[in-house]
Symmetry: C2
Subunit: 187 residues, 2 copies
């Protein structure tokens, strides 16, 4: 398991073995079953998560009980309700397992500690944050410029494997269309 | 002018006078007239910008010549086509002045240099990036969960001053609705 996180960090910064051991002390490994929640809407957000294996959805449930998927998270992705995590406010979204999932969790206190103690890790977090920011700027752009069918095709092209692991109902909720509309795209 | 940038950085990290002087060496101040472009869609993105005064729009022009506003940027905001900036690829969007505007520009080379030489600045950039990431995650959420009228009301509540400075046509383009639809909200 440690190799996954080490290899992931190594793509951005090279840590010595001692530094890596120190970093790993601040993460905890946890296993969740399909349908289990890591974050519950309305509750505290203690951690952000690095996905070792499995698949999750970040969802917002509206007052009518309708589910909106903000993002999926699979192997090598970081996920949380980052707004609630960084500002230590209540979660606006839930993070729930679509498959049995294994994650490394990192508390905000440990995120801040690693950033402060190890410049390499602050650099790593900056790169990840910039990549996350870029991805979300691109998603905003796709909402403004593409219709649901085009967003469907972009997703299929970018993450072909996701389509084999996610139900049509979840895909529709991610794209912001009904299940029936989605069926027309994929037929 | 320097005070604006100094005060902005000071909200997150305290720099000594020497550090601040060093930081300022890496920024250049520039003035642009209303309608001038800082970034042109399809061209290189040399800088990200800290807005000292004025107002800008980050826009995507589609094949039909329709303009989509991804974000506005006013005093104390940072703006760029961050995807193109960080990956040094061609701009997918344009950054254009809505008013006469004064900015501090920062090249990627200087961004990287400041991050590497001054841990305080890497920390500052990490905080800004996380805030930008949070804001865009919130905007994605609002696209999924709110209709155009609700997004209009959220914007009015969050940035009341923007409404006095931006035309109805630009607001409509930001919200992703027609000028006629917008008139119904505000009447």
């Amino acid at each position: 398991m440690e190799e996954k996180l080490r290899d992931h960090i190594k793509k951005i910064v090279l840590l010595t073995d001692d530094e890596l051991s120190y970093v790993l002390l601040h993460f905890s490994l946890a296993a969740y079953k399909k349908n289990e929640f890591l974050i519950q809407q309305g509750e505290n957000v203690d951690n952000c998560y690095f996905v070792v294996s499995g698949l999750l959805k970040l969802v917002y449930n509206d007052k009518e009980g309708k589910q909106h998927i903000v993002s999926f998270a699979m192997e090598d992705w970081w996920e949380s309700d980052f707004s609630a995590y960084f500002t230590q406010s209540k979660a606006k979204m839930s993070l729930q397992c679509i498959e049995d999932t294994m994650v490394y969790s990192l508390s905000l206190k440990n995120y801040q500690k690693l950033s402060a103690k190890l410049p390499k890790m602050e650099h790593f977090f900056l790169q990840k944050s910039n990549l996350g920011f870029i991805a979300s700027q691109n998603r905003i752009l796709s909402f403004l410029t593409s219709n649901a069918k085009e967003r469907y095709e972009q997703l299929l092209k970018q993450y072909p494997l996701l389509f084999q692991r996610v139900s049509k109902t979840l895909l529709a909720s991610y794209l912001g269309v009904s299940r029936e509309t989605l069926s027309r795209f994929s037929s």
